[in-house]
């Protein structure tokens, strides 16, 4: 049994609304698994069903091979880190962490040593007697995680726990959470709407939309080989460029954009000439002034604005039909002369762009 959590054909309906629609997945032991999706996509509902707060309409939830149907939340070998942490304000840090151990009738001395050990592990040694309101946001975070980890759950569930933190702290906690998970080796299931959190921390990510899983894969797979237009648009940034297929050969399609430019690109769908398609092209895949390199698709655009953001700087450009295309602007002196109003030549390798049939 290598999976800590197995979900089979899980469905949850609230009245006429289907929140979770036939979802299947396995989470291998000791891995960091994320569910990524926009708010209202049903990811919290999945988590609450695993924790036991909601009953599935149909389907199977197995934790370490044991069916969890009808098992109350206080009997399940999983613990949940709540979105707003839900630390008990009437207790101090030690009492918060000891709460679960006391419920299991662990002896006082044993509780003492285990609480001290877990506080050490999350980097808060000596914080036991502090009140909850004396802690900073990041410290509360760690207490909430310690409170669950001290119970040594099979699976730790995390419900967007970084959402309430400010950006700088969030960036730091991301790295710390990943490190912590590596150290303790507990299986983490993390849900978030922030793609950067999911990509940085996870071994595997499931992208969820409207109650369904669009794709499950490693962060690299989701980024490089998106299965659906939704994944292509949601994971990382993408330019969307509509057009029509001219011809298909050797797994590559030749498309003509609405501006009349002809590109070669790959597709995961079987396309036929005449199909209307959208080209998904990442800003970082576009090179400025690619020169005469062999096989590049190239096009001309006018610069509308320079969006300076340090290493993440971009050019906002427009095609002749006024379609906005973002182009990554490398921060070397080579491109310092670019300014709004100029027209540039841009190019990209045919493997970098991906076509999806458009519905319209």
């Amino acid at each position: 049994m290598d999976n800590d959590l197995s979900i089979r054909d899980l469905v949850k309906r609230f009245g006429g609304f289907t929140a979770v629609d036939h979802v299947d997945f396995d989470v291998p032991k000791g891995s960091f698994f994320s569910i990524l999706g926009p708010s209202g996509c049903g990811k919290t509902t999945i988590l609450r069903m695993v924790a036991g707060f909601e009953e599935p309409t149909s389907g199977i939830i197995e934790i370490r091979g044991k069916n969890m149907l009808g098992v109350a939340p206080n009997q399940r070998p999983v613990n949940l880190v709540f979105q707003h942490l839900a630390l008990f304000p009437m207790m101090n840090v030690r009492e918060n962490i000891a709460f679960g151990l006391k419920r299991r009738k662990v002896t006082g001395a044993e509780i003492q040593t285990r609480v001290d050990r877990i506080l050490e592990r999350v980097g808060l040694p000596g914080f036991g007697d502090k009140k909850i309101h004396q802690l900073s946001g990041g410290q509360k975070q760690r207490v909430a995680i310690a409170r669950c980890l001290v119970l040594e759950p099979s699976v730790l569930l995390l419900d967007e726990p970084l959402g309430a933190l400010d950006l700088k702290l969030r960036e730091r906690m991301k790295v710390e959470l990943k490190k912590l998970q590596n150290q303790v080796g507990t299986t983490f299931i993390y849900i978030t709407h922030d793609q950067s959190e999911a990509l940085v921390m996870s071994d595997q990510v499931a992208v969820m939309n409207k109650g369904r899983f669009e794709q499950i894969g490693t962060p690299q797979e989701l980024y490089g080989q998106p299965n659906t237009p939704f994944v292509a648009g949601f994971v990382g940034d993408n330019n969307v460029w509509p057009g029509t297929v001219n011809e298909v050969r050797d797994g590559e399609a030749v498309m003509r954009t609405q501006d009349g430019v002809v590109f070669r690109a790959r597709s995961r769908e079987t396309l036929a000439p005449g199909d209307r398609v959208n080209l998904f092209l990442r800003p970082e895949a576009i090179l400025i002034d690619p020169g005469e390199a062999m096989g590049y698709n190239s096009f001309e655009v006018a610069i509308r604005a320079v969006l300076f953001d340090g290493a993440n700087s971009r050019l906002l450009t427009v095609t002749p039909t006024d379609l906005e295309i973002l182009v990554t602007l490398p921060q070397n002196q080579l491109f310092a002369h670019l300014e709004p109003g100029r027209t540039i030549t841009a190019g990209w390798r045919p493997e970098a762009g991906i076509l999806f049939r458009s519905d319209g």
Partner: protein, 283 residues
């Protein structure tokens, strides 16, 4: 300057109210309680009115009885009000909440006197309850349900409910549901969640509700008198008797102040026992 003047102008009626209707009469009563009842000669200063309370067993025993029954009333009211408040604040649909609170409020649109007479119609020997009990064969002889301690406490609980439910609803409402779920997730059962999470969170509301209910019961005159009858032995009746029946205003005033002091002492002790401060409770 102008703001300051406005402040005093608006405060003046309140101050006048407090001074004329509360402070002055109390000073007069306080003075009176230290004077002996001496219609003929010169009324001198004395402690005899206070001594009598401790010397005559009937007086302090009545007080102890009143305090104990008020405490019982408070405890029963709490145990009845807590589930009601929890239901209104957490379980009921949001649309239903206001309606339920109005249902609780509705009996208070009628004066207390009328409500107590209502109970009397139900409970007296020839009353509605006895009629139905005999009709359905549960009793052969009508039973007098009035003028019993239990009936009196029931009446006090009934008229105190609202004052416990309202503060409890507001503290329960401020409880984050995630705390309950978190406790459940960490392995707690129902009782642990009530005892470790919900009750500690609701402590300020419980205390303020309890103080109000305790004080109202202790100072209630009508309900013990009408439902408990002559046997009710409520301390307020002793005060009433001194003022009206014996016409001994000095003794009545002393009893009044003893009631104030002793009930304050009981509340102070209650706050100390539950480890709270009056300021926290009031906020």
């Amino acid at each position: 300057m102008r703001a300051k003047a406005a402040f005093w102008i608006f405060l003046a009626p309140v101050l006048a109210w407090l001074l004329l209707l509360i402070v002055l009469p109390h000073i007069d009563l306080l003075v009176m309680s230290f004077r002996s009842r001496n219609p003929g000669g010169d009324p001198g200063w004395t402690l005899v009115n206070y001594q009598r309370f401790f010397i005559e067993p009937i007086y302090w025993r009545t007080f102890v009885r009143t305090a104990i029954y008020s405490t019982i009333t408070t405890v029963i009211t709490f145990f009845l009000a807590m589930p009601v408040a929890f239901y209104i604040a957490k379980a009921a649909a949001v649309r239903l909440r206001g309606f339920l609170l109005i249902l609780l409020l509705l009996p208070f649109w009628v004066s207390e006197l009328v409500r107590v007479y209502g109970w009397m119609i139900l409970l007296r020997e020839s009353g509605v309850v006895n009629y139905f009990l005999i009709r359905f064969g549960l009793l052969t002889q009508p039973v007098e349900m009035l003028y019993r301690d239990a009936t009196m406490i029931m009446g006090l609980v009934y008229s105190s409910m609202l004052f416990m439910v309202v503060p409890l609803v507001s503290v329960v409402e401020s409880l984050d549901d995630a705390l309950i779920e978190a406790a459940y997730d960490l392995g707690a059962g129902k009782w642990t969640i009530w005892w470790r999470i919900i009750i500690p969170h609701c402590k300020p509301g419980i205390t303020s509700g309890s103080i109000v209910v305790f004080m109202l019961s202790l100072g209630n005159y009508m309900t013990p008198n009408l439902l408990g009858g002559k046997n009710s032995l409520w301390f307020t009746e002793q005060i009433y008797n001194q003022f009206i029946a014996s016409f001994n205003w000095n003794q009545g005033a002393a009893f009044g102040f003893l009631l104030l002091l002793l009930s304050s002492a009981i509340i102070w002790a209650g706050l100390r026992l539950s480890g709270q401060k009056l300021g926290q409770v009031a906020s």
